[in-house]
Amino acid sequence: MRRVAVVGIGTLPWRSRYADKSFRELGFAATQKALQNAKLSPKDIDNVIYSIYCETMLRQQIPTPLLQDYLGMQGASSLRVPAGAAGEGYALSAAVGQIASGMSDLTLYLAVQKGQDFYSFDTGSRGDGILKGFSISMDTTWFQPVTPGVPPYLTLFCLVPHMEKYGSPTPEQLAKVSVKNYANAYDNPESQLHQRVTVDDILNSRIIAWPTTARMCCLYSDGACAMILASEEKAKELTDKPIWITGTATSTYAVHRAEANTIGRMMGTHLAAQKAYKMAGIKKPIDELDLIQVHDLITGCEIMAYEELGLCELGGGGRLIDEGIVARDGKVPANVDGGRIANGHVGGVSGAYAACEIVRQLKEEAGDRQIKIKSGKGLMQCIDGHASLNSVTIFERER
């Protein structure tokens, strides 16, 4: 198997809505930045992997030939990997596989999604339109007609049973994750929220699904993000600072298997992490990872991710936030760019943004928010709706 490196990244600032860019233009802008970052031209790319979550949201089925035409990459191979809000990781695994196998030498990995174009002409509300249009992502037979949105869904299947089983996290710990992520976003010029908030501000925002409040939820947005991935031979020609992808795995867990031993867990994240650690040769993640970029769709699943990734025992995630272990100056900082809570989120893109932040941090190019790099390894995890789709990827700089 060939080694695979990231040799360029391109991120766009998070905005609730890019009224001035269509999905093609968003994809183009992110690609242009990534190509510039890698000092490459479009003709150098032999393969494109698209992370595009939702066609109805784009108002376009089969968007990939339209994008590829717009990018001027006609003739290159391509593959689109949609996997809900974990699609970024699933697509990244596919990209790594294609380069590792020799199918591609230089791949553009492009994550793009319009998330805010739905509208309800019945109520005159964009929010109603988005919630309705988005809801078809859930099981339309068993969930969609009765499920009050994704934050309640994750709260019910994962967070509440976890709190009842382990007595943790507490509402205060859930709020502290938001405070941390807002604080991290403060130094990220690409984040949407630059606010100083307190635990009380978070706890006193309106209850979406107890214990999850509005400010413990991500910001649904438009977004695009690109990376250039290369084989070892190409990477060494292009850069003296390649960031290697040394482990990547996915685990698709059950949807309708809610029982005492499955609720309150994100079992797929545990399984994906074990596979990715084995591939990357990581034995003790708490000592070996310099940072983790985890799926903070709600703050509860960020805390549960600490546990499922093996940074602590089950039920111990709340302690990591209390003791500052996941703070920017802690042992293993989490979501150092602000995460989905303060930057933005849209399925298929936010995990790619999280991956780009790992690349920036490992190259020590993160400016004011640069963390201390010790072992040179970072981890990206993402999940979908109620953690049925899970992905974990390990990045590592040259030692």
């Binding site: 009224a19 001035d20 802008a29 108002r59 509208y119 002409f121 929010g127 109603d128 919630l131 309705k132 988005f134 809801s135 037979t141 068993w142 969930f143 969609q144 007609p145 009765v146 499920t147 009050p148 949105g149 309640p152 869904y153 709260t155 019910l156 299947f157 509440v160 049973p161 009842e164 309106r206 209850i207 979406i208 699904a209 107890w210 999850t212 509005a214 309708h256 298997r257 809610a258 029982e259 005492a260 609720i263 309150g264």
Partner: protein
């Protein structure tokens, strides 16, 4: 450079797109029996594997562990809340949500006789959190107009 280019652009034009409104007429296939019993008899049924005896809710045509075709077994419609979350502000996108007042107690319910839990809504009597909680006994209530959807019923607490 890109930011400057944006500023030089004409004002962004926003237009509606309502030409494509998908409509569906679909079959409930192997789940038809489950929904027919709801529509005709206001009765819930679960799927039981004849080999491992596991009773699956929501029901499915085949046991995912044994790959055996399931058998339908009637349920009383009563069950126990295994986890729940009070929702006070939610998107009213699902059919059932248009018919119930807030708070909406989104719950994992183990129906008596079933092994796996079903996610559904419980309508509490009051507004305050705590009335519905893990262990609360609930029963299914069927709506007037039933059309072959999981939203044809919801749950209410059983009076002590």
């Amino acid at each position: 450079m890109e930011e400057k280019a944006i500023q030089r652009m004409d004002e962004i034009l926003e237009v509606p797109y309502t030409d494509w409104k998908p409509e569906y007429l679909y079959t409930l296939a192997e789940l038809s029996r489950f929904f027919r019993e709801i529509i005709d008899n206001q009765k819930l049924h679960a799927s039981k594997c004849p080999k491992c005896s596991k009773v699956w809710m929501p029901p499915r045509g085949h046991c995912p562990d044994c790959y055996e075709a399931i058998e339908w077994v009637p349920l009383s419609g009563e069950g126990t809340v295994m986890a729940c979350t009070y929702c006070y502000f939610i998107g009213m996108s699902g059919d059932l949500l248009k018919h119930l007042d807030l708070p909406y107690v989104y719950s994992l319910i183990q129906l008596d006789g079933a092994d796996t839990y079903m996610a559904h809504g419980v309508k509490p009597k009051g507004q305050q959190m705590g009335e519905i909680r893990t262990g609360t006994r609930v029963k299914a209530v069927f709506r007037e107009n039933r059309r072959g959807s999981i939203a044809d019923f919801y749950f209410v607490p059983i009076e002590e």
